[in-house]
Amino acid sequence: MAVVIVDGQEVVLGADERLNCIEAARRAGKEIPHYCWHPGLSVVASCRMCLIETGQRDAATGKVTMVPKLVPGCQTPVKDGTVIVTESEKVKESRARVEESLLINHPIDCPICDKAGECLLQDYHFEHGQPERRADIHAFTSRKRDVGPTISLFVDRCIMCTRCVRFTREVSGTGELMVTSRGAKEEIDIFPGFPLDNKLAGNVVDLCPVGALGDKDFLYQQRVWFLKREANVCGGCSAGCSIYTEHNQDTVYRLKPRENAHVNTWWICDEGRYGWHHLHDSARILEASHRVTQAPGGNGHEALPFQPVEWTDVVTGVRAELTKAGRLAVAVSPMLTVEEAWMLCAVARSIDSQAFLALGHVPVAGDDETFPGGFTIRGEKCPNRKGVEEVLAVFGSGGHSWHDLVAHIAAGHADAAWITAGYPTSWIDQAQAQAFTGLPCLVVQDLFDSPLSAQATWRLPAAGFAERAGTWVNVAHHAQSFRQAIRPPAGVWPEGRLFWNMLGRRGLYDAATIRRELAGQSAALAALGADVPATGVDLRVRQLA
């Protein structure tokens, strides 16, 4: 058992832990400032901000021998008896000098810099810097150039930590970025004709400790101190990356990766990162509406127009109309949370105890793509297929796919259909929608209009990922629960709220209540019965235990 002494405080490490001084000090609640070090990248020890004093305590005598010179905390592994001093005068002076050095050629244009408020250079300067400038004053330049379609480089703000360069070499494996020139004149740049344009490129902006790399999607949109963040899960693919949804006044401004060793480590892909714009798309279905009969499928009759319906009338009307119609078929979308899917199935079975329950359409785009750093983008573009499958198994309907459902309806086995969708992109064509023609009752819940919603008798809006609450189970059976980040647009009830009310429950939809209930009914989902930690739970591990 290794014991490390951080500023006189003993920290006990686990048996097989290999930590550097920064990580060990963090255990003792001491933050060693650093720029170039990142746990997901190789160690270069070049910023010299993490210089500390170290020593070794003799196990037998307890005598401490200090190393005479400062050492970088990032590069120095700890072992039993390692002594770390993070607050000596020598260390403080060294930090102040590094801060001073970094500001000599920095434009200090914080008022117009997007990073202000979440900038390490700024934070460390207040904490460790010198109160006044000693270097000569010179007119600062503010040069900016595009390094890729999504990213701008503010050249003079860069402190040359090279995190971005290492990311493109070690994680994305694309190597677009490099360092040019030498000494104080050096700059980050791309190779001529090879822009920073890979599927993980946006991560370099998160990695940048200062305002040098700017995301054009976010640039000048919002001051970071106005943003609120909610721990969320990306709905872009079945990897289910942990993210923060950063928003203000129910508007999402950006998504950031949330560290989760079990899922996405420190990264997210650009597809996920920019995959929130549909939330604020003006083409979204924004009100519940109804019409008496379905539009005839191309036999010349005019479709009756939709009439807006109050949500309270939807709750009763949908149930009444589906009950009246008879045999029910339901598509449970893999965009729904586990809780929503469970409630939907419960509602459906309360209307028709023999209701045909099937997994909704599973969008797929290409194969899984794994990068040299181990990060994988999944080809399956929905977040919760595994979770919905487990819920369907609870209701004895496991194994039915979307195609089974279409065939079921085409064969005339159903009189009514309830299709949940909620896909951010178009997903059904005219030919497939044709199978639903002539159903006396067709409920469609979706984000956008489609050939299917054009035939609906109930056209209901769906919620986007940040507007839901519940649990998604990713491709590796890892379940993550999350809360609603933003309220949906006025007039939209998230699916959970509708199903909750259709089940006749009182009060507001509470995902945790449902989660506990369904955990009791499914061995596969039993792990959800306890509180789910922020990084989620592996459903299979609990089953083995």
Partner: protein, 451 residues
């Protein structure tokens, strides 16, 4: 001083001395043949270790000891890199060896490769030496043709390939891990240590990096023996257990304000004054010396009063210099401004700092900015304190940088200001009578690029 017959520079002045035939006629490659036939690699390591040979590249680390750091029974490959990126200002001894006696160097390389069990050797040659490049490549080609390099050398079963790699002109490529990075085709940013190159070097394999002159010394030790080598130089200081002594002949590069600049071979331990007077013909134009760089600009500055310091590995350190370095002596006469000297030094290091570590990248450029201002008559006394603070805090020794470039940049600053503070203060007060006492930040001047 006692007469000394050059050994390393034996071929200088000999017609066609650079050819294989000439080298053989002087007894060359016979020691190699004997070694390959009769000895084991460990014997050669022991030979070099017992000779007390210290690396000639600047740091003065024991060559034989360095070789023993290689892992035992490593399956290979092990690489031998020869540092011919001679870029320390004032230094040109490697160039003389490569141009006038390349075979002496190559024999040393083959012996060293045999000792370290390396089957590949890379010579990293600085870009600015085209003549050395032609001579070395010609010599390597001759060796391949004569079976001295290549497969199964002289029937001994030992094989060695030597590649001559030409750098792209950067001072930092002379730092051993910077050199390795550059050889691998990367930007020459020195690596963090550990792991040291002997454990994980070129292409992540055990690697030894040695200097050209060290290789020539290895060849001479193999030819003339340990006794001969140890008979030259300065024995270890009995009062200093950490001093291994400075043995053997050394090539001193003498330049600057002397009558006869050049590369001279002398026993280690010759004093700077002897070097200037005996070999250099004294300070030029009948002037007096003001100061001298003892071993390349990064070693700092000796005043004229310190000229009796012996130029062995321990000598310059006793008068506040960084060390012997490359033994490149640059003499500065009494008509030269130390302010100008320091400005030139700072300009060099600001230009050559690789830019990896913050203290060096920003410190070298900041010191240049201050010197530019002082030279332009806008200096302040406070600048001297700032310069000294920079000098005292950047470098491997205080722990603020990865490699020694910053130490090399810091030493001239420290030595010049500590040893010539009066001259700096006079200059500042004389040229900036209205502003020398200002302590608030002042506007910067436009820096004119070094190139």
């Amino acid at each position: 001083m006692t007469p000394f017959k050059p050994v390393l520079l034996e071929a200088v002045g000999v017609p066609d001395g650079y050819t294989l035939a000439s080298y053989r006629s002087r007894g060359g490659y016979a020691p190699l043949e004997a070694t390959l036939k009769q000895k084991q690699p460990a014997d050669v390591v022991e030979l070099v270790k017992s000779s007390g040979l210290r690396g000639r590249g600047g740091a003065g680390f024991s060559t034989g000891l360095k070789w023993t750091f290689l892992p035992k029974d490593h399956p290979g490959p092990i690489y031998l890199c020869i540092n011919a990126d001679e870029s320390e200002p004032g230094t040109f001894n490697n160039r003389i060896l490569m141009e006038d006696d390349p075979h002496q160097v190559i024999e040393g390389i083959i012996l060293s490769a045999f000792a370290t069990r390396a089957s590949t050797a890379y010579i990293y040659l600085r870009y600015e030496y085209p003549h050395s490049w032609h001579r070395l490549q010609g010599a390597i080609d001759e060796c391949y043709a004569a079976g001295l390099v290549g497969k199964n050398i002289l029937g001994s079963g030992f094989s060695l390939d030597i590649y001559l790699h030409r750098g792209a002109a950067a001072y930092i490529c002379g730092e051993e891990t910077g050199l390795i990075e550059s050889l691998e085709g990367k930007r020459a940013w020195p690596r963090i240590k550990p792991p040291f190159p002997a454990i994980e070097g070129l292409f992540k394999k055990p690697t030894v990096v040695n200097n050209i002159e060290t290789m020539a010394c290895v060849a001479q030790i193999a030819r003339r023996g340990v006794e001969w080598f140890k008979s030259i130089g300065v024995p270890a200081d009995p009062n200093n257990p950490r001093d291994p002594g400075s043995y053997g002949p050394k090539l001193y590069c003498l330049s600057g304000h002397v009558e006869k600049p050049g590369c001279y071979e002398a026993p280690l331990g010759i004093t700077l004054r002897e070097l200037v007077d005996h070999f250099g013909g004294g300070v030029w134009k009948g002037r007096r010396a003001k100061a001298a760089i003892p071993g390349g600009i990064s070693m700092g500055l000796m005043t004229e009063a310190e000229f009796d310091t012996p130029l062995d590995f321990a000598g310059p350190g006793r008068v506040g210099c960084l060390g012997l370095g490359t033994a490149a002596v640059v003499v500065i006469d009494d008509q030269t401004s130390i302010v100008d000297f320091l400005h030139n030094s700072c300009r060099f290091f600001a230009h050559e700092s690789c830019g990896q570590c913050t203290p060096c990248r920003e410190g070298t450029s900041w010191s240049l900015r201050m010197l530019e201002r002082i030279r332009a008559g806008k200096g302040r006394l406070k600048d001297l304190d700032l310069l000294l603070e920079l000098g005292n805090t950047m470098g491997m020794m205080p722990g603020s940088t990865i490699c020694g470039l910053a130490d090399g940049a810091a030493w001239p600053i420290k030595n010049a200001i500590n040893k010539f503070r009066g001259e700096f203060e006079d200059h500042i007060k004389r040229t900036n009578p209205g502003g020398w006492m200002v302590t608030d930040p002042v506007p910067a001047l436009q820096i004119v690029g070094a190139h």
